[in-house]
């Protein structure tokens, strides 16, 4: 059965589920980092590094899940690096993030050179659409386990920020380092841990790119998803659940270009592919304000001051 023009919304919906997973993981990681009062712009570099290391390990060991784990660990170490350097006095976290973007992509391209050609085993999908007769619907409802884990993680983080001691400590450090210090917490230590954990999630998000969709490793794999996820966190008002919805929205925007191409509209190909960037920018223009702090913004965050 051919869906014709209906294929566009179906593909966008499927794309929203498929493309949103890296956005989801990176934005949850960034959300955690920013809640502690630091911003890590280097998640773009961590994403690419995670994609490369995940693919490489999956190719060498034959186990994609091991690849996901190693991608997380690679992200964790880069996050740790960012956290430690930013703990030095008078070091600007935004600038270090830019440096990490460069270092992460550089290292990934360097070490990933041998993995551009070979085909690594990729992550399996769960077929939820087998009841449908249309192949488009079937492929739109192929859901990766990581997506489900990410959704569960959004719920868990949202709960943890409210209801656990850890969540409260992270939020306190992010809102007022003075208060945290007065309570006897080591501000830098909390922030380093939060940045490292955020790096882990971003690395896992990267492994999704290379191990599931698009499902190969090359140097053009990520084009700003990591950075868009940072903007997405601002849009989501630092709430993990909103991050989930925002990731779906961004995923859908990212799927628009290929979806239109599949029904034969090719003229504005590059412009359609720029939709996510335009959407990000439009959302930031609409939600930011020069005069007041954003609702829900951590008080210590430099990006909103």
């Amino acid at each position: 059965m051919d869906l014709g023009w209906w294929g566009v919304p179906v593909a966008v919906l499927g794309g929203a589920i498929r493309v949103s997973t890296p956005f989801l993981f990176v934005s949850l990681g960034e959300c955690l980092t920013e809640k502690s009062g630091r911003i890590n712009l280097g998640l773009e570099g961590i994403l690419v590094m995670g994609a490369m290391s995940g693919y490489g390990v999956s190719y060498l060991t034959g186990s994609p899940w091991l690849g996901v784990l190693v991608a997380g660990i690679a992200g964790l170490s880069l996050g740790l690096l960012h956290g430690l350097i930013c703990s030095l006095p008078r070091v600007n976290d935004i600038a270090v993030g830019i440096g990490l973007m460069l270092l992460g992509t550089g290292l990934a391209f360097f070490l990933g050179k041998p993995f551009v050609q070979p085909k690594a085993p990729t992550l399996p999908a769960i077929h939820l659409g087998d009841w449908a007769s249309s192949p488009q619907v079937q492929s739109a409802l192929q859901i990766n386990v990581l997506f489900i884990i990410g959704a569960a993680l959004a719920l868990a983080l949202s709960w943890a920020f409210r209801n656990t001691r850890w969540g409260l400590v992270v939020r306190m450090v992010g809102d007022s380092s003075d208060a945290a210090r007065a309570m006897g917490y080591n501000v830098n230590q909390v922030r380093v841990l939060a940045t490292a954990a955020g790096g882990f999630l971003a690395g896992v998000g990267g492994s999704f790119l290379s191990l599931y969709y698009p499902g190969s490793w090359n140097e053009g794999l990520s084009s700003g998803q990591g950075l868009m996820a940072v903007a997405l966190v601002i849009f989501a008002r630092w709430q993990p659940l909103y991050c989930f919805y925002a990731a779906l929205l961004f995923g859908g925007a990212g799927a628009l270009g290929p979806a239109l191409q599949s029904v034969g509209i090719t003229s504005g190909y590059y412009l359609f592919n720029a939709t996510p960037y335009l959407l990000t920018l439009a959302i930031m223009i609409a939600t930011c304000s020069p005069s007041r702090n954003l609702a829900g913004a951590p008080g210590e965050l430099s990006v909103t001051r």
Binding site: L41, G45, L81, I85, L88, P89, R90, V91, N92, I94, A95, V96, I98, G99, L100, L102, L103, G104, T105, G106, L107, F109, F110, K113, S223, G224, L227, M228, V230, A231, I234, S267, G268, Y269, Y270, L271, N273, A274, Y277, L278, T280, L281, M284, I285, C288, S289, P290, S291, V303, T304
Partner: protein
């Protein structure tokens, strides 16, 4: 009181030498710390090379050979440094007003495209007029593009680092769309390009060297920016905004206008870099314009601590490392991302070294050594 001899001198006689001494020490600090950081970065990169089984000394010898050993290598280096000098200003100028702009690549690409269109339209005009027109349009387009990020920051509170990079992605999409669509030269088959501007309008080479005049544009732009930032009221006002926005407002400065001016000037430098690449190297606008010069400029400006004059030697250094890339690939079988790794390590070490300023007593004015 300290055991410091200088303190016992009569105050009057010590004023002038203490003041020059103070400046000397500050200058020495601004030189020694980044230089030391670069050395540390080279050691770290050397360890990395050793870990993957290459001799670090071989690597550095080849970088020297490829970038700085001969006249030919120097010309190659300067050719690469020319656009980077200009894109670094795109970071350095807004940084005076406290903004971190990383969208130079977008301004370069669109500036180059605009220059190519104007250059083609101006076929038959006198080269000088056409080149000035190309440079002006490129600067206006690039400047407006970055000023947009500055305006978003000032009027909407949108973080300029994120918005300028998003604008770069949008600029590249726009560039690709136009070059492969409406502005495509039907004759360019394998590599979509705009119509050529023609040999008559090309920017030539500096006499006696195989380096185009774009390098001189960059040097002049840097010197002008240095004077602007250091010796004019406008530059002083910019630095106040960068130091403390509230103080600037209290002093009655028009912060918005200053932010826009610094962004426009920075963007126009990057746009000019695009014009230079089109009018002196490629002859038309095509995908080769998206070569990462904008990103290299970010690194250069941060190493130079956003000082428009220091940008020049740093850009030459980075250009030289870039020029040696081919040699590294051929001789040592290293991937082309080797230079990116070195740049990334250098960037991180330089930023970490930011914490050292003011830590060494030898660089402090004597009065503060108590």
């Amino acid at each position: 009181m300290p055991a410091d001899g200088a303190m016992t001198l009569p105050a009057g006689s010590a004023v002038a030498p203490a003041f020059t001494g103070h400046r000397l020490r500050r200058a020495a600090e601004a030189f020694v710390i980044p230089f030391g950081a670069l050395v540390v970065a080279m050691i770290l990169f050397g360890i990395f090379m050793a870990l993957i089984g290459k001799n670090p000394l071989d690597v550095y010898t080849l970088i020297y050979k490829g970038g700085f050993s001969s006249g030919f290598a120097w010309q190659n280096t300067l050719q690469r440094a020319a656009p980077v000098i200009l894109t670094a200003l795109c970071v350095a100028l807004p940084a005076q007003a406290g903004l971190i702009i990383i969208g130079g690549e977008g301004a370069l690409v669109l500036g180059g495209l605009a220059a190519a269109v104007v250059g083609h339209a101006a076929a038959g005009a006198s080269p000088l007029v056409a080149q000035v027109a190309m440079a002006l349009i490129a600067m206006i387009v690039g400047g407006t593009w970055i000023a947009f990020a500055g305006a978003l920051r000032h009027y909407r509170g949108v973080n300029e680092t994120i918005s300028s990079l998003l604008l770069t992605y949008i600029a590249i999409a726009l560039f690709n769309h136009l070059v492969e669509g409406p502005l495509r030269d039907p004759g360019s088959l394998n590599k979509p390009s705009t119509q050529p501007i023609g040999d008559a309008l090309m920017v030539g080479h500096i006499p006696g060297m195989d380096v185009h005049w774009g390098l001189v544009y960059g040097l002049v732009f840097c010197a002008a920016c240095y004077v602007l930032v250091r010796y004019t009221v406008l530059g002083f006002a910019l630095r106040i905004v960068g130091g403390n926005v509230r103080a600037a407002r209290l002093a009655g400065l028009r912060v918005g206008g200053l932010v826009l001016v610094s962004c426009f000037l920075g963007g126009s430098a990057a746009g000019l870099a695009g014009m230079v690449e089109v009018a002196a190297v490629h002859g038309n606008a095509n995908a080769s314009l998206i070569a990462g010069y904008g990103y290299a400029g970010i690194l250069v400006s941060f190493i130079a601590r956003h000082n428009p004059l220091a940008v020049i030697p740093v850009a030459i250094l980075v250009g030289g490392i870039g020029a040696s890339n081919g040699l590294l690939q051929r001789r040592l079988d290293l991937p082309d991302a080797t230079v990116l790794v070195l740049q990334g390590i250098a960037f991180m070490v330089i930023l970490a070294a930011e914490t050292l300023y003011g830590r060494f007593r030898i660089f402090q004015p004597r009065e503060q050594q108590k």
